[in-house]
Symmetry: C2
Subunit: 206 residues, 2 copies
Amino acid sequence: MSTTVGNPTIAFWFEFASTYSYPAAMRVEEAARAAGVAVEWRPFLLGPIFVAQGWNDSPFNVYPAKGRYMWRDLARVCAKLDLDLQHPSAFPRNGLTAARVAQIALDEGWGPDFVRAVYTANFAEDREIGESDVIAEIVASLERDPDAVLARATAPENKERLKRTGEEAARLGIFGAPTFVAGEELFWGNDRLEDALAWAKSGAAA
Amino acid sequence: MSTTVGNPTIAFWFEFASTYSYPAAMRVEEAARAAGVAVEWRPFLLGPIFVAQGWNDSPFNVYPAKGRYMWRDLARVCAKLDLDLQHPSAFPRNGLTAARVAQIALDEGWGPDFVRAVYTANFAEDREIGESDVIAEIVASLERDPDAVLARATAPENKERLKRTGEEAARLGIFGAPTFVAGEELFWGNDRLEDALAWAKSGAAA
């Protein structure tokens, strides 16, 4: 069990298509700051992990009763957090381009703003975040050059990096999003954020 | 939306094989009493609901990464509640006889004690609750006559009642356990108990 002395950290693993990643992404920075914990933002793709479990679609579409519940529960969660929610007209949306851009944005220090803007577009504004044009608009709204950013995002080494991240997710045992990782402990779901922060702070061993 | 004036109530839907139903069953009575909310205990079988979703086994066995996570998370949840947990040597165990007996026990006023004793046997003592002998021992430990109770439990009308309960669960949109129902709102999972109690108290409409 790794224990971080003086600078506790959690890794925040998220997928732009993931519904519960939305409230998690919107609140993780503030919650972690209040707890004195650093956040490592880890965009990844759930698709390959779902395919490995035999799903070609979101489990919320594969299992309709679970899907109906999720949308209702998400509405309650967002209402509690005072977050806008608009049931997206398409679900799940393809998070590939957004995840590639997020890697660049995180390198350059505007990652959290970009991540929140994409989630807001998908879940509060019903915009098609799977389209490069929409991602370009979001990048521009953050006063970055969309053409330059998208070129870096689609460069071979950046594509490869996202693939490696996906392999790392599978190796860690991640099967859904959001997942918080503190030391070697996984915490799955927006509602486990506080537990993950407490674990990181305590440096507790299993 | 039904609003209960003066006597807010939640229904607690549980399945004896369900792992997260264990901490929920152990704490629901005390948490509800503290909140001033009554509890209606609803034993049911998840099997038919899982079969309708295409699973012939617990999803925690069907999806091993999710299963590994669940056992670790359950250990953390139980540690927090100071509840013993022993990874059962068989999972899931058949909850049919226990559910039938629970219906009788709830009618006769010893239901919550029986429910907690069965969960303790399954998840803290690694006993085979699928066997009638084990259920009989639990009934005897509560100073009830096992033969008489098991005879009532396996009478046709009691069997039929459990089937109708399962149909009601499906109609309500229940897809897992534990599920708390407050008014027409579903709250799935041990970690949603507090939300369900708050909803019942507020009589809030959707």
